[in-house]
């Protein structure tokens, strides 16, 4: 049930066209009224009389309401609300963009990298390059029907930034020379193999750029005329001499 004060304060708030402010106004007036009632009770007034006096002292609800409405202008209030909403939207948008471009992206990449990255084995051979280190190790060799064999060569690349024009650029872009006891072939992304019937290659790890360094690991799968005993990988166009020789253990 609404008490007499609630009826009064409702009448005040009805006059205020900017509705979002009504609650705060009613609350402030209520606190004032309660203070006054308490004061009168402290003076020993009868509760009913105290409430009546305190309400009477508040004045005419219409007059108070109209005066409040003049101060709480609706267009000003809505403009304020709109600017706040806009500021909030901009903040959220900025945060999301920021998180997406730097935070989330690198977080996902880093997690994938951490989960999938395998360090090169101790037995891996390595070449120290101008901007980093290249490791190589023999992978599986599988005998295919018809005398052919699939041989895997695993490569790891750890580079310091900036990369510039680097000798291992060819490796990154699948352009290097492969040589084994049967002969030599060049491996390119566009023109995969010249010597064998088929070849495929896959990334074991897509590679992650970080501040200061980048690492990649990849496995080259080559379909060869026969199982190799050794292989040499190099990139003669690099301007820097390096050859990595991997050897497979020959099964008895």
């Amino acid at each position: 049930m609404r008490d007499a004060f609630q009826i009064w304060v409702d009448a005040v708030c009805e006059q205020v066209r900017f509705q979002p402010d009504r609650k705060a106004i009613a609350q402030e007036l209520r606190v004032h009224y309660d203070d006054h009632v308490k004061d009168l009770l402290r003076l020993g007034r009868d509760p009913a009389l105290a409430e009546e006096r305190a309400l009477e002292a508040m004045g005419d609800a219409q007059e108070v309401g109209r005066a409040l409405d003049k101060v709480h202008k609706p267009w000003l209030g809505w403009l304020w609300e709109a600017s706040r909403a806009l500021a909030l939207a901009l903040t959220v948008l900025t945060l999301v963009t920021l998180l997406w471009t730097v935070g989330l992206n690198s977080l996902v990449e880093r997690t994938i990298d951490e989960l999938t990255w395998e360090e090169p084995p101790a037995s891996a051979v390595k070449a120290e390059l101008e901007h980093g280190t290249l490791y190589a190790a023999p992978g599986d060799v599988t005998q295919e029907p018809g005398g052919k064999a699939t041989a895997e060569i695993r490569l790891w690349l750890q580079m310091r930034d900036p990369l510039g024009t680097d000798p291992y650029y060819g490796i990154k872009n699948w352009f290097f020379t492969y040589r084994d006891e049967h002969g030599e072939l060049s491996v390119q992304e566009t023109d995969p193999l010249t010597r064998t019937a088929a070849a495929s290659r896959y990334w074991r790890n897509p590679g992650v750029s970080r501040v200061g360094w980048t690492r990649h690991s990849q496995t080259v799968e080559l379909v060869l005329d026969g199982p190799p005993q050794w292989a040499e990988v190099s990139y003669p166009l690099s301007g820097q001499d390096w050859v990595l020789r991997v050897e497979w253990e020959v099964e008895p």
Binding site: V12, V31, D34, H36, A57, M58, D60, V64, A67, V71
Partner: protein, 112 residues
């Protein structure tokens, strides 16, 4: 003696800013202080204080903050701003001039 309402209305800003120049206050406190300091001559209809306060806030003459009273009630406390202080000085000057001129007119009209 109660003062005519229309005489009060022109001076409420001056009175309120004067009250707040000493300390920050909440609405009911202002009413009781106003009554006390004026020997109960100035009695504002209490509800009309708030449109005035909110207007002063909109003009930047007072600032408001919510504070819990010792009894645990959340009250809005009003405090005069720097701009409010300057407005108060101007209003005071205005008032002194006004009072002097009213006195001059009233006294000159009095029978000798």
């Amino acid at each position: 003696m109660k003062i005519d309402k229309s005489l009060m209305s022109g001076s409420t800003t001056l009175l309120i800013l004067s009250l707040l120049s000493g300390e920050e206050m909440y609405g009911y406190q202002m009413i009781t202080e106003l009554a006390r300091r004026s020997n109960h001559v100035f009695a504002l209809k209490e509800g009309t204080l708030y449109p005035i306060l909110h207007g002063l806030e909109a003009e930047g003459l007072v600032s408001v903050r919510e504070k819990k009273s010792p009894e645990g009630r959340t009250r809005k406390y009003y405090r005069i701003t720097r701009k409010g202080g300057r407005a108060l000085d101007a209003r005071k000057e205005e008032w002194v001039t006004f009072r002097e001129q009213v006195d001059a007119v009233v006294n000159s009209a009095a029978p000798a």
